[in-house]
């Protein structure tokens, strides 16, 4: 014990540094670093068009990552978010084009209905995941993996892999490529989703219960928290945010695609982990996951600008995730409960 005493001032500094790094400081530093380095090597990085592009990608990724984060806080994973994106995309396009043929003058209603149906089915798929995890105590990993296969199979069966067209311009241009108050609509939606999640986490009982259930389910049950309902709700929200992502992407590319969203499983988990969400559950904050999403979008944008091969980009994404996991493990070592 006495050995540690001479190094006490240094310890205080490193503790503070650790605190900063542990609370997202390192991600912030990396974001700045990448932005500066990319801007120097490729001045195109600072083009308005490119900046908007990064913001759009960040918005899309952070929406889906909000749901993934909630599921991870309760100690699970949602591997089905990718196929829910594709499913929502196909569903939106199919329902919208069908409604338009049936009632061609009522574009607005068709869009609203199609979007509502896609959102509801995303949430419903998530709910089924949640019920299987909560009531049958199945592993989230297996449940959502199996669900992925079911949904992907259904999507391909319906479309045979062919894109679905026939959506009104009101939707594709109005949602996908428009601006609200000078900001892309997608970014506005992303901000709303993130702000809502922050509010839920900080201000609502549900947010509190999500942390509690992830941190100690037994204690939560004893404290009278409806643990199963909380679990089901988080998976439902994850399905919902995946559906939102699918709808936004569909509007942006102008067709329903069954191949959409494949990379989102890894990317949303990566954004969450880079954003400091613990794999053990119990902790994670929306604002930091937003940073994680921004970081990943920047990395990918930077590599695109530098014309790095897309296969190599996949490698980098995996490496970033592994690095973030190791970092989390290091932090976890300092916080042992018992």
């Amino acid at each position: 014990m006495s050995l540690a005493e001479p190094s006490l001032p240094r310890r205080a500094f490193t503790t503070r540094l650790n605190g900063f790094l542990a609370n997202g400081g390192i991600v912030l530093l990396l974001i700045l670093l990448i932005a500066v380095v990319t801007a120097i090597i490729q001045p195109r990085f600072l083009n308005q068009q490119n900046i908007l592009n990064v913001l759009r990608n960040t918005a899309i990724l952070s929406i889906i990552s909000m749901g993934q984060m909630l599921v991870m806080i309760v100690g699970g994973f949602d591997l089905s978010v990718g196929v829910i994106v594709a499913f929502a995309s196909i569903e939106t396009a199919l329902v919208m084009s069908a409604l338009l043929q049936w009632m061609p003058e009522m574009q607005f209603l068709a869009v609203v209905l199609a979007v509502a149906i896609a959102l509801a089915s995303g949430a419903a798929i998530g709910m089924v995941n949640g019920v299987l995890v909560a009531r049958l105590s199945l592993s989230p990993f297996m449940v959502t993996l199996a669900m992925s296969s079911v949904i992907a199979g259904a999507t391909f069966y319906v479309t045979k892999g062919i894109p679905v067209y026939g959506m009104p311009e009101f939707f594709t241009h109005g949602v996908g490529r428009s601006f609200l108050l000078g900001v892309p609509t997608v970014v506005v939606v992303g901000l709303l989703v993130v702000l809502t999640t922050i509010a839920v986490q900080r201000l609502t009982r549900f947010g509190r219960h999500v942390y509690a259930v992830g941190s100690n389910p037994v204690a939560s049950r004893q404290s009278g928290i409806p643990v199963d309902a909380v679990l089901v709700a988080t998976y439902a929200i994850s399905g919902l945010t995946a559906a939102i992502t699918g709808i936004l992407l569909t509007a942006r590319i102008g067709s329903g695609q069954s191949t959409l969203g494949g990379t989102f499983v890894l990317e949303s988990i990566a954004a969450a982990v880079v954003g400091g969400v613990s794999l053990l559950g119990g902790s994670g904050r929306a604002e930091r996951v937003l940073l994680g999403a921004l970081f990943l979008s920047l990395v990918s944008n930077s590599m695109n600008l530098m014309r790095i091969d897309s296969k190599f980009q996949t490698l980098v994404l995996g490496a970033v995730l592994l690095a973030a996991l190791c970092f989390e493990l290091l932090l976890r070592g300092r916080r042992k409960y018992g």
Binding site: R208, A212, S215, N216, V218, A219, Q222, G224, I225, S283
Partner: protein, 506 residues
Amino acid sequence: MTHASKLLELSRISKRYGPLLALDDVDFDVMPGEVHVLFGENGAGKSTMINVITGNVGPDGGSYRLLGNEVRTMTPQEARRRGIAAVFQEFSLVPDLTVLENLFLGRERRIAGLLKRAEMRREADAFIAKLGFNLPLDRLVVDLPRAQRQLLEVAKALFEEARILILDEPTASLTDTDADRLFDLLFEMKRDGVGIVYVSHRMREIRLLADRVTVLRGGRKVATVAGADVSEAQLVEMMVGRPVGDLYPAIAHKPGKPLLEIEKLSSVDGRVRDVSLAVREGEIVGLAGLVGCGKGEIGRLVFGLDPISGGSVRVKGKPVARFSPRALLRRGVCYFPADRATDGLAPNRPIRENASAAALDLKRFGGGGWLRRRAENSKVREVFERLGVRPLRLEQTVLQFSGGNRQKVMLARGLMREIQIFLFDEPTVGIDVGAKAEIYQLMRDLAEGGAAILLISSELPEILNLSHRIYVMHEGEIVTHLEGEQRTEAQVLSGFFGKNRTKAAA
């Protein structure tokens, strides 16, 4: 009409866990304004009783009346709603939330769906001040020392304004000052007509608080007596119940040279501090203490399962440089964990594999990476015969065996290779008396054959009857070392609470 005056009345409650009858036809009731103490050994059924009352466990038989009304099924939520609050030994706190958030967990104050944070803080401030506890509202529970977690646990239960309060060893890690404060609060609650169920081993607390004491043994109720006119000796006799000596073999004490020497050992998490002890050839050394005192941690530290922050260990006179189970097994040290299900055995694998798991690096069984199944089989069979595993079916999985046999499978590991130093952590928890006796006999055989045995146990009779020497731990430190005639129940018990420090326990 008699029912109406009782807050809680359980009659003929039974609960079976597999082959183990945890509660057998037990009656228990609580009157308003009384403290009713539950007393008994570990495994006597106290926890099961509490879990039945709080709805965590559904009884297999018997009736449950609350305020005179028959209750069919009780759930934790329902129990809380109807005024039953409990302080559990395993903390019901959420580590990643703050003290304030934990206090209101499951009963958050809200307006229009949003948390009323300012109001909750005011309410908590006032409540904590009223209790007179030192609890920082904004600290995360994970960062709180154990004593403060315990206080928070108590505070959480008192916050409910319960009609029935259940406390399971609430003072296990409290300071005397905090404990006294708690007793004052309990007296206040008694005056308000709250019924209190109190589980404790501590005589001082039973003296101070108990109106009635119900003694449980092996899942059965021995008696319910008035707290005022029962002596400690009587209680212990009722608790132990059997003529001591039947179960425990006489073990010759011919100590040789020290085989295991621990010096100033400390753990990284601070649960063990500067512990020194030695075990000699042909000796059983008991390590006693309350749950959570750090005694179980010693075995884990020595065997390299948890990180060490300071101190040294010598095996057969030579210092241990690498603390890993593999290295220690090779030097003849084997640790037998208390939680066999999670730490010790692979439940869905055959007992043969479980027994030989720690010996496959030996040339005899696994030289050059190839298994020698015939050698493995015959040795495993020999060991199981010696241990009296019945039925002797090597290919059955651990799950197909009872608790006693599972422990024997665990022990078989130590007999598969040359082990001279045995670290037993709660070796007889949850197993029946017959298997207990066999395990004790094995320990005698091992000790008389020259092995060094460290017996870590919460069962006082076990410690008193088997150990040649006894160390007692309290809050991570060894406070007492007892030899020869000093090895009495009273001496060990007072060590439990950090009193009776002996010089030898340096």
